[in-house]
Symmetry: C2
Subunit: 456 residues, 2 copies
């Protein structure tokens, strides 16, 4: 559906040559890293200020035209697909770190700043921002999808690490969701309402984030196990023992092999845990000893320590690139990535049933997991040109979601709903979904904000 | 405004003699621990099940009659005042611990279970629930007001420690806000929306809460300082150094004196910090040494260690009773308690300006604070029979709130809005308050849930 000319004129008046309707630009903005087919917007504007975002949203509101925010396009459930056309507001140019406040352990950034960029910026401050999805995503996008990553077991997710947001509402008004105090009991928690709302309630134009002190000591290790179950039992007992492990990540043998090929590492090909410990020298040593004792109980086949900073960086870079390593297993393929998260007591059962299910499938698949949180991803490699592979992946994904829901888990631990997981929300939430719909209608009565996502 | 007879008949049919319109019962349910005048409901029902709560709400909805939930009545901003009459649903009888899951570090409870009760229940499990407001409040009420307490600096607030809620909606439907997985990106964060909603969006009938392992080692200490500033600077540097202190609490000299009298302790009368350290033996020792070094830098006048469990319990019981100790300073008085919370970099400034302001006042006042979070309370003792004292307390409170807001802080760190803090929300949130109003109208279109609180 083409945009009204009057709207394009209004946008051109604000954005000049930062308004584009070029095919290539539109296609780039209609495609994330998922298996879903691209769905480009009718036009893209490149906003540089909150005021410009507000003006763009006001213009779209006048013509009841859909608005989709875009950061880095690294989402995994079709979040940025322009299902009903409309205008994409690209905020990647809003990429300034506005203020670091070391004394308050917080930072204010524009939404286009990426997670690596903010940590690069903070490098000499002794502070860091821990949330690390696989991609070098924008912080606005990470807040919008309630992202997490490998550090969540210790530092929480975006839910826990956003102090305050500036948001452009569906009518173009600009609000701030909270003050900068560490805690507050003042009214409804608007910050948490917008974190995870995936651009369906407003567009995030500024974020104040919690920072953490870079620990005095850090040590990392990998450890292969004789079985998936042995690895998972080690995780469960570690968490139950209250050991404040910073990272505890799982890869199955397929994924370890893929990572070895892609990142030129030489991990033994077996179900493997990746650990990281943060603290004082003494505490890191103590945590490592306790975890090693637990792992040994479950038949661990030897810890390999990455002691130097460079070695550690290489180890985690390989972990972060697992998605790309998986895709590289079958050139030309796309990945269908599942994202179940279950109570940790059910994790072994859920993973083992899933493994057994995958063995019956013809698809190449690999598993990685933020297992300290009960969250794991199956990467299902599909040839986008073969509908039967897509259908099989879809069926596997359905069974994984149903399995997780039956175990009191969730259909998405960290990727979000987009349009890919919408069909599961009814089962996950029941009547509570009606409350989400009411909130959506109350805040976005015209339904112009990223339509067709979360609540449809 | 008397209740419709038909409503009373409907309630009597469900509750029998657990429906009361007796004067004494109504008065008890119209009064919290604040300075506000009592405001009793027209009737009280004592619910024992979720279904009964649902039936009561449905009955009230039929007659557009206000509904107010009641736990222990220990709130501090008039939360339970029946400003527009209506029916109080007392859930204190729903006080069963339903299931403890040690392997998942969580527990499911009914809303009337109190914080002390759940910890008593957990005593032999090696687990505990850390959130501890002064009163032995109900967990449903604590979730409803987004409570915190002395452990929040390490363990977070109710915001961070509620995994999932069962809620009776304003039309009587029962929903569950989330699954039991540790994290989820599935849709809007309904759990966080109901935490802190003070009964204005629904009534909490079940809570699943995060638990924490009882640390291997615990040590506590008190330390007097030569000045308020020296104590606060010690707090700031401790937090900035990333020392994972479990508790770091402040009392001014007036409060220490009050506590000594009330709890028969013998702390030196000076601005004082109360510390607690949690961890392994080695880590607790290390934390304590580092904090002692920082305190010494600021002129600390000697740590006094409470090493035994009994001694520690006595120390924290005295701290928790600070409110009652304060009130006891002037028999017959009520306390007007302020609740500002500011970014920690502004805490010294905020406290010192407040101290100077208090010196000009004729009221007896004392200060306690969860200073690790930037949160402090001034207790202003007022004779309820002397309007000029009430007016003076109100003026002091206004100045404290304005001071906190000017420092990017909040009008309430942990007590909530009730009707006492409503007038400040416009200043704190600006246009964002409109989003709260829209959410309220969308979920409670008749406006029957605890009317006159938060958004009016």
């Amino acid at each position: 559906m083409p945009l009204p000319t009057a709207l394009l004129d209004d946008l051109a008046a604000v954005f000049g040559d930062r308004l584009s309707t070029a095919q290539a630009v539109r296609e780039h903005h209609g495609k994330d890293e998922s298996h879903f087919p691209p769905c480009p917007p009718e036009a893209v504007v490149f906003a540089l200020t909150t005021q410009e975002v507000s003006q763009a949203v006001k213009a779209c509101a006048r013509y009841a035209t859909p608005v989709i925010a875009f950061g880095t396009g690294t989402s995994l459930e079709g979040h940025i697909a322009a299902l009903k056309g409309g205008v994409c507001i690209d905020v990647s140019g809003m990429n300034a770190v506005l203020e670091v406040r070391p004394e308050d352990l917080d930072v204010t950034v524009q939404p286009g700043v990426t997670r690596k960029q903010v940590n690069e910026y903070l490098r000499d401050s002794g502070l860091f921002f821990p949330i690390d999805p696989g991609a070098d995503a924008s912080l606005g996008g990470m807040a919008a999808t309630r992202a997490s990553g490998t550090n969540a077991v210790r530092y929480g997710t975006m839910r826990d690490n956003v102090l305050s947001l500036e948001v452009v509402l569906p009518d173009g008004r600009v609000i701030r969701t909270a003050r900068r105090a560490r805690k507050s009991s003042a009214g409804y928690d608007l910050t948490r309402l917008f974190v995870g709302s995936e651009g369906t309630l407003g567009i995030i134009t500024e974020l104040t984030l919690r920072l953490h002190g870079i620990p005095e000591a850090v040590s990392a290790a990998t450890c292969p196990f004789p079985s998936v179950e042995a690895a998972v039992q080690t995780v469960i007992l570690t968490i139950q023992s209250g050991i404040p492990v910073a990272r505890i990540e799982f890869m199955d043998e397929v994924m370890v092999d893929a990572v070895n090929r892609y990142s030129k590492t030489s991990h033994r090909v077996a179900p493997t845990l990746f650990f990281e410990f943060h603290g004082s020298q003494a505490s890191v040593r103590e945590q490592a000893e306790r975890v090693e004792a637990i792992a040994t109980e479950f038949g661990a086949q030897g810890f390999q320590w990455a002691t130097g900073a460079e070695e550690r960086t290489r180890l985690w870079a390989a972990r972060h690139n697992a998605y790309y390593a998986g895709i590289a297993l079958k050139p030309g393929c796309r990945a269908w990535t599942t994202d179940a998260c279950v109570p940790i007591s059910r994790l072994a059962e859920c993973l083992l049933e899933t493994k057994a299910d995958l063995e019956k499938s013809s698809l190449t698949s690999a598993i990685v997991g933020h297992v300290g949180d009960g969250n794991f991803h199956v990467m299902l490699l599909v040839d986008p040109g073969r509908p039967e592979e897509i259908a099989e992946a879809e069926a596997v994904n359905h069974r994984i979601v149903r399995r997780a829901l039956a175990m009191d888990g969730t259909c998405t631990g960290e990727h979000g709903v987009g349009h890919g997981k919408m069909e599961f929300l009814e089962e996950e939430f029941g009547e509570a979904l009606d409350i989400m719909r009411r909130v959506k209608s109350a805040i976005d009565p015209q339904g112009i904000m990223n339509p067709g996502k979360i609540v449809g």
